[in-house]
Assembly symmetry: C2
Homo-oligomer: 219 residues x 2
């Protein structure tokens, strides 16, 4: 009975997510669901990404348990941002994202970024209607994250390995990280980035633009 109930909720979520994905596709918008631990650097990555996507039209949906701190940071870049406060819930769901998206004009966008609640576990199970999931993992978290939190690495199209400016100050074997991630998901693109120093941001932005082009060509 309990399992059935949980399945029903997930099924309802997936139907809502598919509806949003169709809407994004009809407008030629790429939806990106950013998932990572608290403090993995998702918001700072978005700030640098928006600056580099100059000329393209970006909006952000921010998910947090509490506060509007992240949406305020995004708005300072000039991009529209909608903050969701989950009030305790540990992940976003499609219904929350659809509600937030109603505040945005999808027809004028190129990218819709959804920054999930800081959590490497629960968000992996919830389809938000995105085109791609991207996992953000910082070198300060250690190189064993793919082995210990496999689901999100299996489901993501790319992994932004963030805060690589800290590599000289932490114990982190980047080849071990890459090898473990590749075992879980041979198609995962690992992108080392320092949003603070700018390293790797161009490659990450190029990856995003390629995904947008590919999506529009498939239409």
């Amino acid at each position: 009975m309990r399992v059935k109930l949980a399945r029903d909720i997930l099924k309802a979520n997936d139907q809502l997510a598919n509806g949003l994905r169709r809407r994004l596709t009809s407008h030629g918008v790429l939806g990106v669901n950013l998932i990572g631990s608290p403090g993995s650097g998702k918001t700072t990555l978005l700030e640098r990404t928006i600056e580099r996507l100059e000329g393209l039209r970006v909006a952000v949906i921010e998910g947090d348990i509490a506060t509007a701190l992240d949406a305020e940071r995004i708005e300072r870049t000039g991009a529209p941002a909608v903050q969701i406060n989950t009030e305790g819930a540990c992940h976003l769901d499609a219904n929350m994202v659809i509600d937030a998206a109603s505040e945005l004009d999808l027809a004028v966008l190129d990218f819709l970024f959804i920054e999930n609640v800081g959590n490497l576990v629960c968000p992996a199970a919830w389809d938000l209607g995105e085109d791609v999931k991207v996992v953000v993992s910082s070198v300060a978290e250690g190189d064993e994250k793919p082995r210990k939190y496999p689901a999100v690495f299996q489901k993501a199209a790319a992994c932004v390995l963030s805060k690589v400016d800290l590599l000289p100050h932490v114990d982190f074997d980047i080849e071990r990280f890459r090898a473990d991630a590749a075992l879980l998901n041979p198609d995962l693109t690992v992108l080392p980035v320092s949003a603070r120093e700018g390293t790797g941001v161009a490659e990450w932005v190029a990856w995003l633009k390629d995904r947008l082009t590919a999506k529009r060509q498939r239409r």
Copy 2:
């Protein structure tokens, strides 16, 4: 109906947790539930803690979604460790901990550490039968963690602010962190620690010993 079900599960969990807490108390054992993001430094902190608690008897229950990496690290210190693999579940519950504790002889222990699944959100809601919750938050995660993840800071007796050796390399305002944490929980003891360099470990271990003494005096 759904809410009722969730409440029933939490109620059953709390009854199990209270039973374990009574058993720990009857043996004079202090139970410590360590909660923090993936890569916040919980396992490294435990390694250094066990070394410093020389002469006292320590056991560890390790919670992870997958792998026995953390229990293997603990066993190398000489302390008994039991690994729980939650296979997807984002937090430990009392039933899992009771099952793992059956592998340990509680009568010969001073401290039972429970390292929760790496997650700053969900574990805060689950009583595992511990005497104290301790939140571990690394300076690499940023200074706004108390504001964004309030529940765990409200419920913890202490916060280990970890990886303070990285302070020169990250943007982190320790006074802001302390002030935000104090607003949420005036009784929270904030302990800056670098497990890597040893800074603050003595103060953290002294805090633990004080809690053990206080518990035994109350008996």
